[in-house]
Symmetry: C2
Subunit: 724 residues, 2 copies
């Protein structure tokens, strides 16, 4: 059934008939392996090998030509060189086939010539509305439909896990690893160059699939989705799609990042502080998606979410035959936001009765080095039946008496009895391998090192917390303050546009402080009284009219950090100081490159308060992101970067501030007065509205916003325009 | 040869004859396993099984009694219950045996009764000067002497790695793991309860051994030492010992920590901020020792340092058949302080000639998914011969053409050719297992996930950096400023002692501000003029005499954070403000518990500057530690804890400040004036001298020290006395 806004991918992933172009008798050829994989996976439809130079492959008759086929295949798999593949698309489309996998490499990834070829592919796909997976991909596996349409060497078992891998190379590793650990998939789709179909198309298709699917027994209650992505094509749509899934089914993503070098060119605080990875993290958090920090996290979570339910609380019991690793795990628990469960008197009594006198019956429970499987069983049964325990970590080292496999067996059986999440760490080499095999058989996630087990449990608990916390992400603004903030009128937006157009016409992409302040004022944001001054006389006039103290500033696109080059002088509270300051700032300005177009400003000094930085930056993938954190000199000392995708409502603004390292200050830390938090929140919402109403602004940075007991004022603002 | 200050452990670890008490025919018994291990390890000396109930074990005649033995064994191994073991110590000692291993558990670890028994053991050991390993240990392996005196199930191969494990349970896991990875040991010693012999005894013994040993070929140039410790008995001596080894031979330690709960009771900033783990980290850094953050680090470094030399520089090349994992590794490199090597034109040209056109010849080098072993070889040979490359990471995913074992073979051969450090990540499951086996054979460290490989390389590079940086740790104070600071005279120390004795006599362990200031003044540290005041009148008199502005303060042992309960009012610059402040602070004081014994103070306000916190705390294991970091309100916002063991010299003080997050401020950040850094350094050295001269001070916390352009002044000081 076609998704309303999406493509109908049903026959791509559930075909009744498949044609394989480049089917080969050579067992080393991809065209042979994919055919064999399809046959071996138990595909019940019709297979048409196509190869003009071969009469038959694997006992099946070969066709020389696509148009000669006796029916219209639902799916065509192209295992032929890139140029030939592109040339064959039109004949395939003309026959009537809509779904195509292109294995071939030699496209965009090899340079301009390949990119040109890939463009041709895209044009044909658009013309005939083809669903093309790839090129440069490994195909897909749909275990429920009994089809392995990949050229992977490893097979795959049936399970509840869905996976998207942009890289076929990594997918090969995942298949091999999953098979070794008895981890089954529901569907595994590789995307390759994503010329036509991307992750959003797959997620849209899965939205329906998830509703239909029945979770196999003996697994977790979820249908988890793992992803390895090198790029996210349409971030906002992506978040929209995953956020609909992620509250019920855990979604975890490993995103290959960009090296820092790419970020060095950023020309403002917001630009350099809110790097791509940070924006992504904020976006993923909004959508209740787990971001894998390392490859291993992805592998660990795949097993964990596939096999175990997330813990219902943070309280973890530990049962171990080794004291040291248990203590290390307790430290790790606390570090990762979990808690060591307090066992009830009843459980402690039970443990005292069942375990030897020398055993530690308090959590972590030490069953001692000579524990056989039955002693592990007593301890595990006792703590799992305890209501104060939400999850269990079992540690085993292969000591002389240790019954490794029997203990694993006991764990498997008790896991089924209680259905509380269990993670294991059998520490060692070949001896414990056999125990791990048994655990894999029972589908209990095990980790060679206990810290990994704890970390995995912590990620599961975070997801649990996050899905409880996240309501409907990206919802429209609600709350007292955001209700007060009206959307910008057309008239206001026109006025803003006029200011920026002037700058554009003058070939400037950085606005002057004056222009920036004017725009903020149009949005109802307070800025200090200020004026451009040409000489000391003008400065004195301003100070006398507006009142001391005043601030002198240089405004120049060449200065990112005004305070660096003596570009700001504060606390000028009399004419003598003003004269001295004027001299100093004129000298500083004289050092600037002549062409940079600076001007000198005087500003009425704001009553001191807490300095924050507020910024909005446009992210290519996820759109506008608002940043808030410690401002002024502290901005860089604290590295206090807190992000939220727009739109921003009152709750979002509050959450964002609560994450800031200076939040205690805002609330009146150590006997200081609390500040006008509501004014700050309103200001944040207004900045958000501005960014959304004027998408031609690339970056807005207000540093500092000064917040005191009565007001929040934008003291220094830098606005950069988009150049395209 | 006996170590001058140590025990002669030579015959313990290199015995010519061994008696085994509790030798058994039962294959499951520890007394059987250890005998078999000794025989199987090729021990060439004499073995005497002792068991009154058995005639022979494994073809050897059994003795009924220790005194019946035909000679005096160099070593006695006790594999009998705890009480019997203790009872037999005296007869063994009387026969003349000096070296004993006690496997038995049932001592301190089981509670008070066991502790009593352990005490008896210690008394006998002292009486007869016995070298006892254990109790509750797994024994030791000395591969060079062909003796495996453990009851471990796994054997162990010959190598260059020395290991100390306090836990026998974890040692079992390490043995099993090492065997699976072809990692060999030189010596492996388990300590158990450390009743008699501890890590320092072993290290002292090894100091000589390390000079004698010849490193086997095909390994790294080092004789690395790994340790798993649950406690460090005499921290200063330990540091002294390891720091003599660690500049030549890498030393890495996993220390099982304590959970946070133990630290909650700390009553001061310094106490709570400088936890045990932080002090340890500072201590280890001083001694050029690598602290393992997780169990896995210990396992990873064991192989890495055993097999590969540390890189000579931070520049890493990557060769991969998968693009994504390579990109992820680049991110990780930067995060971990390594660099992506820039390949020379010559190398790039060579790669262009040898690799297919689609390959990426810039670092990270992508050999493409269809790379066979020969293509890997070309790429690896090219980058290893490049002078800009200090280390190499090789990534492999098992794709359809990939020659996994052949590629591993190629890596092994090229590794021998160039001797630059290589780490590998073969990603997958059973398919890549075989490749890893080949890598293990060649002794190339491999990791299932590339981030682990990068992390390990980074730790190796850190060690390289650290041993270049560290001169002679814990050296006597040198430098202009520390030379100026004279040691405290006996007279001064007496005066300090008088002040603290008074407090002791009054049953106080927290000094008043006045007492604390007096002590600092005695050490030549400036404090603001101040006075205790009883009423507003006295306060006014003080202010008029000393000059405005002034500060009002409550001094009370009940208030740790004065600013919390309105205990500090600053910026009082006229009599009206003083009256208001007086009223406010009196009210705040009235809220304190009546018995807490508070007093009200007035202080001349110091010219504003940067606020730092300085503290000294006494650590049970490592002695006095000095802490420096952001002070005042920032202290907790920044979490800026920087530690250095005393003594502190000028270089040490400078290094410590350079680590602080507010260091940029001290140097005149963003156009601000630089502060009197030398005054601060002198003050730090003086505080250090005070702590060393008056060891009965448990904690000194100065918060803030205000540093401005002309001076550094200790504005608020809290001194806590040791209670025992």
């Amino acid at each position: 059934m076609p998704n309303k806004i999406g493509k109908d991918l049903n026959k791509l992933f559930n075909p009744d008939s498949i044609a394989i172009l480049g089917a080969s008798r050579d067992e080393k050829k991809i065209g042979h392996i994919v055919l064999k994989n399809i046959v071996n996976s138990g595909f019940r439809g019709r297979i048409f090998p196509i190869n003009p130079n071969t009469a038959s492959v694997e006992g099946m008759d070969c066709y020389a030509n696509y148009k000669d086929l006796p029916e219209i295949p639902d799916l065509a798999i192209l295992s032929i060189p890139a140029e030939a593949a592109v040339a064959l698309l039109e004949p395939i489309a003309k026959k009537g086939t809509k779904n195509i996998i292109v294995f071939s490499s030699g496209f965009r990834e090899i340079g301009p010539q390949g990119a040109k070829l890939e463009n041709s592919l895209r044009i044909v796909a658009e013309k005939y509305k083809l669903n093309i997976l790839g090129p440069n991909c490994l195909g897909f596996v749909n275990v429920s439909a009994n089809i392995n349409a990949t050229f992977s060497q490893a097979g795959s078992a049936k399970g509840n896990l869905r996976f998207i891998s942009q890289s076929g190379a990594l997918a090969s590793g995942i298949f091999d690893w999953a098979l070794a650990h008895n981890l089954g998939f529901s569907e595994f789709i590789t995307l390759g160059n994503k010329s036509v179909l991307n992750e959003n198309d797959i997620l849209r298709y899965w939205q329906d699939e998830l509703k239909k699917s029945i979770v196999p027994t003996g697994l977790s209650n979820y249908q988890p989705i793992g992803m390895y992505l090198e790029s996210i094509d349409a971030g906002k749509e992506f978040l929209n799609l995953v956020s609909k899934i992620s509250l019920t089914n855990p979604v975890f993503i490993l995103k290959a990042g960009k090296s820092k070098k790419a970020q060095e060119a950023a020309r403002s605080h917001t630009g350099s502080m809110a790097g791509d990875a940070a924006v992504q993290e904020a976006a993923f958090k909004d959508a209740c998606v787990i971001r894998c920090e390392a490859t291993e996290d992805m592998f660990d979570l795949a097993r964990a979410f596939s096999w175990e339910n997330a813990p219902k609380g943070p309280r973890v019991a530990i049962v171990s035959n080794a004291g040291g690793p248990a203590v290390i795990s307790v430290d790790m628990l606390e570090k990762e936001g979990l808690q060591l469960a307090s066992l009830s008197k009843k459980t402690i009594k039970r443990l005292q009765e069942k375990l030897p006198a020398a055993a530690n019956v308090f959590n972590p429970v030490d069953v001692l080095g000579d524990a056989l499987a039955d002693r592990y069983a007593e301890a595990i049964d006792s703590v799992l039946s305890e209501k104060n325990v939400d999850a269990l970590l079992i540690i085993l080292t292969p000591q002389v008496m240790t019954e490794i496999e029997a203990t694993a067996d006991v764990i498997g059986k008790l896991s089924a009895k209680y259905r509380k999440p269990i993670v294991c760490s059998f520490m060692g080499g070949n001896l414990v391998d056999k125990g791990e095999e048994v655990l894999d058989h029972y589908k209990i996630p095990s980790f060679r090192f206990p810290e990994r087990a704890v970390r995995t449990l912590a990620r599961m608990w975070e997801w649990q917390l996050s899905r409880r916390r996240v309501g409907i992400p990206l919802a429209a603004g609600k709350g007292k303050n955001s209700a007060k903030v009206k959307l910008l009128t057309k008239n206001t937006v026109n006025k803003i546009s006029k200011i920026t157009k002037l700058a554009k016409n003058q070939n400037r992409d950085v606005l002057s402080i004056f222009e920036a302040d004017k725009i903020l004022n149009l949005c109802g944001i307070k800025t200090p009284k200020s004026a451009v001054i040409k000489n000391l006389n003008e400065a004195e006039k301003f100070a006398k009219a507006q009142g001391w103290p005043v601030v002198l500033k240089i405004s120049s696109p060449a200065m990112i950090h005004k305070t660096d080059g003596g570009g700001v002088i504060v606390n000028i509270d009399n004419p003598v100081k003003l004269a001295a300051a004027w001299k100093k700032i004129s000298q500083a300005a004289a050092k600037l490159p002549k062409k940079s177009g600076f001007s000198l400003h005087i500003q009425k000094q704001i009553h001191p308060g807490i300095e924050m930085i507020l910024g909005v930056k446009y992210d290519e993938s996820f759109g506008n992101v608002l940043m808030a954190g410690a401002g002024g000199v502290l901005a860089e000392l604290l590295v206090d970067i807190n992000l939220k995708l727009l739109p921003l409502d009152e709750r979002g603004a509050k959450n964002l501030l609560a994450k800031s390292k200076v939040y205690p200050l805002l609330n009146g830390f150590r006997g200081q007065k609390a500040v006008a938090l509501n004014k700050l929140i309103t200001l944040m919402i207004k900045v958000g509205r501005l960014a959304q109403a004027a998408p031609w602004l690339k970056e807005i940075t207000i540093n500092p916003v000064i917040i005191n007991a009565t007001d929040a004022v934008a003291v220094d603002t830098r606005i950069i325009l988009r150049t395209r």
